[in-house]
């Protein structure tokens, strides 16, 4: 459904992504793990066109083209077919929880207001926040904000939702509620690509794990393979370090 080949990105002459290739099938729940600075955020941002890639190829949503040859229309197509859940939520602070969700439906998708509200309420229900629909982001806890962020993404029914460390900004006691929502999404067949430091999520929820370091995909495979029998030395070292820290 989504195929990335040879994706490259550098900042000011500094190579951050050095040729990333992977594909996402419908229903996949892919966890991307790796040390800080390895380019995970940059990877999600270039695929979703928030950053311009310097090279590579994408086929997705009817597009089959080099990143650098994408025109405005292609970029719109990509943006309309992905969802994004940000590390720091990025809710619209001047809109209520409900309006955060209806905004994209009404303004971008031209859905009728009443219909948009219905869709938004369903999304809020899935993340368990029906009773907070009229709260502004400043009146919600971090966990609740992130759940609104997730509801905002699923309401648009994108082909794939990208999550960039959705629980990293949360107090530890709020991480669970967000992971629970993500697990429910995964169980209901939502296609997800999740950058995470939550090894439990990577191991128990995803069907594929990608280990990234230094702008490369070092290895990828089933959670069982990566966690129990990694082939690369770097993967082993990373997992030993991170798991011994818990």
């Amino acid at each position: 459904m989504l195929t990335i080949e040879g994706l490259k990105k550098s900042y000011a002459g500094h190579d951050i992504l050095k040729g990333i290739s992977f594909n996402v099938n419908k229903g996949d729940v892919i966890s991307i793990i790796g040390p800080s600075g390895s380019g995970k955020t940059t990877l999600l941002r270039t695929i979703t066109t928030l950053e311009e890639a310097d090279g590579g190829h994408i086929s997705f949503a009817g597009i089959d083209n080099d990143f650098q040859k994408l025109n405005g229309k292609d970029i719109n197509t990509i943006r309309r077919n992905v969802g994004f859940v940000f590390q720091n939520y990025n809710l619209f602070n001047n809109k209520t929880a409900l309006q955060n969700i209806t905004e994209g439906l009404i303004v971008a998708r031209k859905v009728k207001k009443s219909e948009a509200k219905k869709i938004a309420l369903e999304a809020l229900e899935r993340v368990g926040l029906t009773d907070r629909q009229n709260h502004y982001p400043s009146q919600l806890s971090g966990g609740q904000q992130q759940r609104v962020g997730i509801a905002r993404a699923i309401a648009l029914n994108p082909q794939v939702i990208f999550f960039d460390e959705p629980t990293s900004a949360l107090d530890p006691e709020l991480v669970g509620e967000v992971l629970k929502v993500m697990q429910d999404l995964a169980n209901s067949g939502t296609t997800m690509v999740v950058v995470t430091h939550q090894m439990n999520f990577a191991r128990d929820v995803s069907n594929r794990v990608i280990f990234m370091a230094d702008g490369y995909i070092v290895e990828q495979g089933s959670p069982k393979k990566i966690f129990e029998n990694p082939s690369e030395e770097r993967t082993k070292k990373f997992l030993t370090d991170i798991l011994s820290n818990v």
């Binding site: 979703t48 928030l50 990025n90 905004e103 971008a108 400043s138």
Partner: protein, 232 residues
């Protein structure tokens, strides 16, 4: 008691000239805000040249005393128009020169206020808007602008009050505004009742400034209230 009567009397004589002050101020606020918006956009743009030019402009304008700016425009512009466009603008209503000078003066602080208000709204909200399918303009207009507006409001009001006060220099190039009127009244009274006259004038400026402050705090309150009442 005598003084109060006098002041009230002078108020009556001064107030008809308030429309000059209002026209000059309002025009400069509107034009200055537009110019400030362009400057802010230039300072936030990708182009290094635009950014540098705009920031030089802002520093220069900020360092120019209002009275000098008014004289520069009043004496300089006719020369400029003569030299460049071979047009004679000596016949222009003098008010125009004040409006141009105040517009230039107002645009500098306003551009800074707009820029910092814009920057205070996290870039992430723009990205979130793009990834729910809205265009950059839609996101700016519906998400960023309303928030930046609230942030900018108090400082903007402050600049408006400053502009109002700088506008009291309008008389220096011979426009008959309230200040000029006050001078005439004092002259007509052979220099008598001068402090009562200027006291009346000061009162008018105080009331306008207070009204601006009050208006702004009402708008701010209504924003805060909106957020409080909706969520129970």
């Amino acid at each position: 008691m005598e003084n109060i009567k006098l002041i009230v009397n002078f108020l009556g004589q001064l107030l008809p000239a308030i429309n000059i002050t209002l026209i000059v101020s309002l025009s400069s606020i509107i034009l200055g805000s537009l110019l400030g918006l362009l400057l802010a956009a230039a300072r936030l743009s990708q182009s290094v040249i635009l950014r540098v030019l705009a920031s030089i402009y802002v520093s220069v304008i900020r360092a120019t005393p209002s009275i000098i700016m008014i004289f520069l425009v009043y004496y300089g512009m006719p020369l400029l128009f003569n030299g460049w466009f071979h047009t004679n603008i000596d016949g222009w209503n003098r008010m125009y020169f004040v409006i141009i000078a105040l517009t230039l003066l107002f645009s500098a602080p306003v551009s800074e206020i707009m820029r910092s208000a814009y920057e205070s709204i996290s870039k992430g909200q723009m990205e979130a808007g793009l990834l729910v399918g809205m265009s950059p303009f839609q996101t700016f207009y519906r998400i960023i602008l309303p928030q930046a507006f609230v942030v900018a409001l108090p400082n903007f009001a402050n600049s408006v009050v400053n502009l109002l006060k700088e506008g009291a220099l309008t008389f220096t190039i011979g426009v008959v505004d309230m200040v000029a009127k006050a001078q005439m009244i004092v002259a007509n009274n052979s220099g008598g009742y001068a402090w009562q006259t200027y006291c009346a004038l000061a009162l008018i400026y105080w009331v306008i400034s207070l009204a601006i402050d009050k208006g702004v705090s009402l708008v701010e309150k209504s924003y805060q209230k909106k957020r409080k009442t909706i969520a129970v």
